[in-house]
Amino acid sequence: MQTTLAALAVITVGYILAYLVFDRLRDRFGYVGGAEYVVIGFLLGPRVTGLLGAEQVQDLTPIVSLALGWLGMLLGTYFRLPALAIIEASHLRIAFTEAVTTFGCALAALLALFHYVSGYAWTEAAVQAVTLAAVATLSSTAAIDAVTRKSGQVSPIFPVLQLTARIDALVAVAAFGLLLAIFHLGQVSLKVRPPTATEWAVINLAVGVSSGVLFHLFLGPRTHLQEAEGNSRLFVALAGAIVVASGASYYLNLSPIYTNLVLGFILANSGSSHRDVTRLLLNTERPVYLALLIFAGAAWSPSSPELLFVAPMFVIIRLGARFLGGWVAGGPAAPAGLKTPRLGRALLAQGGIAVALAVNYTQVRPDLNADLVLTATLVSVLLFDIVASREAGDVVGRTSGSMASVPEDAPRAEPMPQ
């Protein structure tokens, strides 16, 4: 009894201290993250109080898988084809260039790190490197949003940054999904031939597409949703859909984030309920992200001495890759009116999908340095969340001024469609 009460006291005091520290950061630096929630999770977890032990973590799988799928589905709903079709080609060029360059640079550096420095075989190095490169590629506009809200400045580069953050997420989730298909783990039934890597990739896509089509039919026309109790019932239906799709993905040892991305894409592009779906997903994004942080904190169990080297290296690699990707996309690849060589600095914040990918990795590849991947991700997310607002504010300030001299006929950034 005393142990449990002590555990509760530790959690309460720990949370209050963490809250006070990060609240100060919020005030001084415009901090956009939720590190205090990682602290709560860590305090709840087996490393400190043990209230959230391995058994409880197992019991909470539905909530965690819901959170992973929720973020994946939200990402999928951003890619609505009619809205994508009217985006300036130059914006898409900038976004894809930034995403692919960042991913490529991070992947090359991480492969070298894991293979040549840490001494892993190519396959093992590739699995870890692709996962961390995907995490490195992810960006979020949270810092830009915060700066815009605080200063009232509206940067013309803002829509480009929004699009770039989403393309970053698309590239990262697709890469992670393909990774789990190509380097698939686990034995299938003896009655069937083990699928090839390509077949697993197709199966992964097929699960997402068929789930999307079925849930489109399940949700029905928009009028049906309006007749119902609205958000609450839609929440239940979406939660059910996500949990079912995630359950199927876990069963096949594939990525539920990728499956739900495809599911979200289908829902966004079919039927008339896409606005309700997107609005609900957006409204609940923040609590879902914070819930994931708590879970990640609880699952965090740093033990390998390798962490002391790999985690800082990952932060440096991400920083380099981000700057380089931003420089290529905002420099040579950008048209005259949108030249922003410091684009990468505005995209330092990582957001929820980075944590989601790392948590997903710990679930599907517990055999291969799961702690290392989770730790590197958490360190990177928490650290970049602290500096992101200041860097983003700098970029916004510069672009707001520079646009005054842009010629009238220069291509303008369009707002990102919802």
Binding site: L51, Q56, L60, P62, V192, F218, L290, P366
Partner: protein
């Protein structure tokens, strides 16, 4: 409806097709349970919509969905899966407790204490007396009384009667949330079922130790009685602590209340398991203290809890439905039905009489009984304690209690909705 059912069947069919490709690793936990949990949610939502179209409470649909998929009927969701999902149910119970406590306003209780007190007293005395008498009269057909001596028959029957006096705060709150009912009937019913929850646990403690003594297993009876009393007062103490934490959070942080409520409920559930106190009671006390005692505005918390209410009710009632054992009802249906009807009659007489003595409004006098018929988690939880600690007699009694609860859980919400409609307190039909 048909479209949705076809989709659900296609989903299950698709899962069967994928079965040979299943390759879960040890890091991925119970994907089958996860998948079936999703199917259960979607089915519950569908059945809830059908129930609503048929002008019955949605929660009856949720229960039927759980029952249809659960081990008793189709077996799509087996018992092992329900075990995997037990934490989800505990979280739902905790959130419902917190919401119920926060809904109970001291002002309402002060205004209606005479009515609530008199209905509660009449209900407790009448229902226990009637059920005790009926059980003694029907003892030849009641399996758990077979072979006991006269003294044991009396005290075991008393324990059975006390178990069946329990109401259901979950059903009451779910229905009030669904219909957004407000008025004297809604407030009185909520007051009675919440206060009854505490009273019944105390009565159960006494009846249980008497039954134990009469069965000759009284060696540990005082210990068990102390344990249960400690459970009640420990729950209240834990509730006060949780209420304090919630108040501090509302005073100084006031962010991400939905998430914070879930974390608090989870931590309380973990502590309750460790320290053996009652989760529902402790969070009920916590919610009540935050709403009525703490020097903070509790509306934001209440609003956050209301946002979660529908999904939480779907989870709770769908899982509760899946756990219902129809076999328990079918095997003994004439006796179970008889006991359930006697209980319902007793509640009608007691609630009507009690509310008249308490000088309640005419609508309350006429319809308050409809809100007291439902039974759910608390009754089943107490029956489980009996089954665990009174070998043979306890397990047979649990089977019968489950049968009666299954009946009351299905009929009670329909009756209460009807009562609220007749009292014209329903805002959303």
């Amino acid at each position: 409806m048909i479209r949705r059912l076809v989709v659900l069947m296609l989903l299950v069919g698709g899962a069967v097709l994928l079965e040979p490709l299943g390759a879960p690793t040890e890091g991925v936990i119970a994907p089958r349970s996860l998948f079936l949990f999703g199917i259960l949610l979607l089915t519950a939502d569908t059945f809830g919509a059908v129930a609503h179209d048929l002008r019955t409470p949605r929660l009856v649909g949720y229960l039927l969905a759980g029952l249809a998929l659960g081990p008793s009927v189709a077996g799509v969701v087996p018992a092992g899966v329900l075990e995997d999902l037990s934490m989800m149910k505990r979280l739902a119970v905790g959130l419902i407790g917190l919401l119920a406590g926060a809904e109970l306003r001291i002002g309402d209780l002060r205004d209606r204490w005479r009515i609530v007190g008199s209905i509660l007293t009449f209900q407790t005395v009448t229902v226990i007396a009637l059920l005790l008498g009926a059980t003694l009269l029907l003892q030849r057909w009641i399996p758990f009384l077979a072979g006991l001596d006269r003294e044991a028959v009396f005290f075991v029957a008393l324990l059975f009667a006390v178990l069946l006096t329990v109401n259901s705060p979950m059903v009451t709150l779910a229905l009030l949330t669904e219909t957004r009912a407000s008025g004297p009937l809604a407030r009185t019913t909520l007051g009675v079922v919440l206060v009854a929850d505490v009273v019944i646990i105390l009565l159960f403690t006494g009846a249980f130790s008497l039954a134990q003594a009469s069965l000759g297993t009284a060696v540990g009876a005082p210990d068990i009685m102390m344990g249960l009393l400690r459970g009640v007062f420990g729950s209240m103490l834990a509730g006060a602590l949780v209420g304090g934490v919630l108040s501090l959070y509302l005073r100084f942080v006031k962010r991400e209340l939905v998430l914070f409520a879930v974390v608090v409920v989870f931590a309380t559930a973990a502590a309750a398991q460790e320290l053996e106190f009652e989760l529902l009671l402790s969070l009920l006390v916590a919610g009540f203290l935050v709403e009525n005692v703490a020097p903070v505005r509790a509306e934001p918390l209440l609003e956050a809890l209301h946002q979660m209410a529908v999904p939480v009710f779907v989870i709770f009632f769908a899982l509760a439905g899946a756990e219902l054992h129809v076999q328990g009802f079918l095997a003994l249906w004439p006796v179970v039905l008889g006991v359930a009807l006697i209980r319902m009659g007793g509640i009608y007489v007691a609630a009507t009489g009690g509310s008249r003595v308490g000088q309640a409004e005419p609508a309350v006098s006429r319809y308050v009984w409809t809100g007291l018929v439902s039974q759910a988690g608390v009754a089943l939880g107490l029956a489980t304690i009996v089954a665990d600690r009174l070998p043979v007699v306890g397990i047979a009694m649990q089977t019968m209690v489950i049968g009666v609860v299954a009946f009351n859980e299905s009929v009670g919400p329909i009756l209460f909705r009807w009562g609220l409609l007749r009292a014209q307190e329903v805002k959303v039909t």
